[in-house]
């Protein structure tokens, strides 16, 4: 397996997501989603034993997942973290620092601890849920506009000068 991804979220409501949603409601009321979720998104590139290695890492390093306050799942897996709200149309966007110390430091830490892995990449995954009448194309378009901070009153979730923005193919 070349890449294993995990999603990590707070067990309690995420204050960053709540603040982001209330800010978006104020600056972009017409295009704002009904729900906004935030996840730490970790990509493990070429782990020796695939998911088994990643699970070992996650259970060992509580800085990646603190089991007292966070839950996690493999990305694209059983979806235990998904809200399960069938009424919403979800679009997902990944925000990654162009120069990223977190990823570099974790790659070093894991290698020092003898984990056979090429590298680790850290991003923030934002999941935006729109009302059921919204088409997927529209949801994706709105998500991109709300993510890219181009002007003071346009966009919030990423600063394109220092961050890469990737709209994911499917929610």
């Amino acid at each position: 397996m070349t890449e294993v991804s995990i999603e990590v979220r707070l067990k309690a409501p995420d204050p960053a997501a709540m603040t982001a949603l209330s800010t978006l409601k104020r600056i972009n009321p017409d295009t704002c989603p009904g729900r906004l979720e935030r996840y730490d998104y970790w990509r493990f590139i070429r782990p020796l034993d695939g998911k088994r290695t990643v699970e070992e890492i996650v259970l060992h390093f509580h800085d990646i997942v603190n089991p007292n306050k966070q839950s996690w799942s493999f990305s694209g897996g059983s979806g235990i973290l998904l809200s399960g709200d069938e009424e919403l149309v979800w679009a997902e966007v990944l925000v990654t620092d162009k120069v990223d110390s977190i990823s570099e430091n974790w790659t070093d830490i894991l290698r020092r601890n003898k984990y056979e892995i090429e590298k680790v990449m850290y991003s923030v995954l934002w999941r935006l849920g729109y009302s059921s009448g919204t088409s997927m194309a529209e949801a994706r378009e709105r998500t991109l506009a709300l993510t890219i901070t181009s002007y003071r009153d346009h966009g919030l979730l990423a600063n394109p000068v220092s961050q890469n923005i990737n709209l994911l193919d499917q929610a």
Binding site: T19, L156, S162
Partner: protein, 279 residues
């Protein structure tokens, strides 16, 4: 009522330097009032002559440092006052808010053209708290109301931040000199791109940038924490360290002003000049 210029110090949820900032403004001969982020009417009615966005962690740095504060309604007022020419200073988290507001570098008003990214330099990343040296750009010395008395000597000022690395889109590299205000250097004024002289990997060793007119300054170091000479550590090298050490056992140390005072004296001097011109 006084005729002193009024400087508004804005307090966002999570600001933590507003009281000392207001204090050093008053020590510099101006009036200072602290306004909470939701006191828009009070701020507007007070008609301040200048604005300072102090350091801290506005909105707990949620989403991105300064990103949420920049969208607050109170920043509409600051934005318009800045465009009218009033002096605006952002210190540390205040600088992050100004960058996220599009007030600096301000090549196109309100457009986000730079970022204060996470510290990243060979051998170092994460939160940094240390003393650094700064020098002011020549054009900035002439046009910025915050820098007119800084002079050419390198000045020691502390930094304390995790996201202080100025970055720009590559297409803008040829016009960054327009916005250069403060750069990191050593005690002799020599710039290098290596730690610890450049503590965070900032592009072109930038510690502070300004808008084209120079009235808006966003700087990562904390001048209010170097306002008094006794705040300067005795081991600091260079002329400021010598001055500090010469006062080590002198009662005058208690009342002597440090290098950070120059930023606030510059503003007071700017207002005096305007006042003289008006008469």
């Amino acid at each position: 009522m006084t005729n002193k210029p009024l400087v508004a110090v804005l307090q966002f949820p999570g600001s933590n330097c507003e009281y000392e900032t207001a204090s050093v403004v008053r020590e510099s001969g101006m009036d200072a009032m602290i306004f909470r982020w939701n006191q828009l009417k009070e701020l507007s009615d007070s008609r301040p002559d200048a604005f300072i966005l102090p350091g801290g962690f506005s909105f707990q740095d949620r989403v991105r440092a300064g990103a949420v504060g920049a969208k607050e309604e109170i920043m509409d007022l600051v934005f318009n006052e800045a465009l009218s020419g009033k002096p605006v200073l952002g210190i540390c988290n205040g600088a992050q808010i100004l960058v996220e507001s599009g007030l600096v570098p301000g090549w196109e008003n309100g457009r986000i053209e730079s970022a204060l990214a996470a510290n990243h330099i060979h051998g170092r990343s994460g939160y940094l708290s240390r003393w650094v040296f700064l020098r002011a750009n020549e054009r900035a010395l002439k046009i910025s109301p915050w820098l007119r008395m800084i002079g050419n000597d390198p000045i020691p000022v502390p930094i304390a931040h995790a996201e202080g690395r100025f970055v720009f889109a590559e297409k803008d590299n040829n016009r960054i000199s327009e916005c250069m205000a403060l750069t990191y250097c050593d005690e002799n004024g020599i710039e290098t791109a290596d730690y610890p002289v450049n503590p965070n990997g900032s592009f072109m060793n930038l510690a502070g940038i300004m808008n084209r007119e120079g009235n808006v300054l966003a700087m990562m170091p904390h001048p209010e924490r170097a306002f008094w000479m006794w705040q300067i550590p005795p081991w600091i090298p260079g002329t400021w360290g010598d001055r500090r050490n010469s006062l080590q056992h002198d009662p005058a140390l208690a009342g002597s002003k440090g290098p950070g005072a120059l930023f606030f004296r510059s503003l007071a001097d700017y207002f005096e000049l305007i006042s003289r011109e008006d008469q």
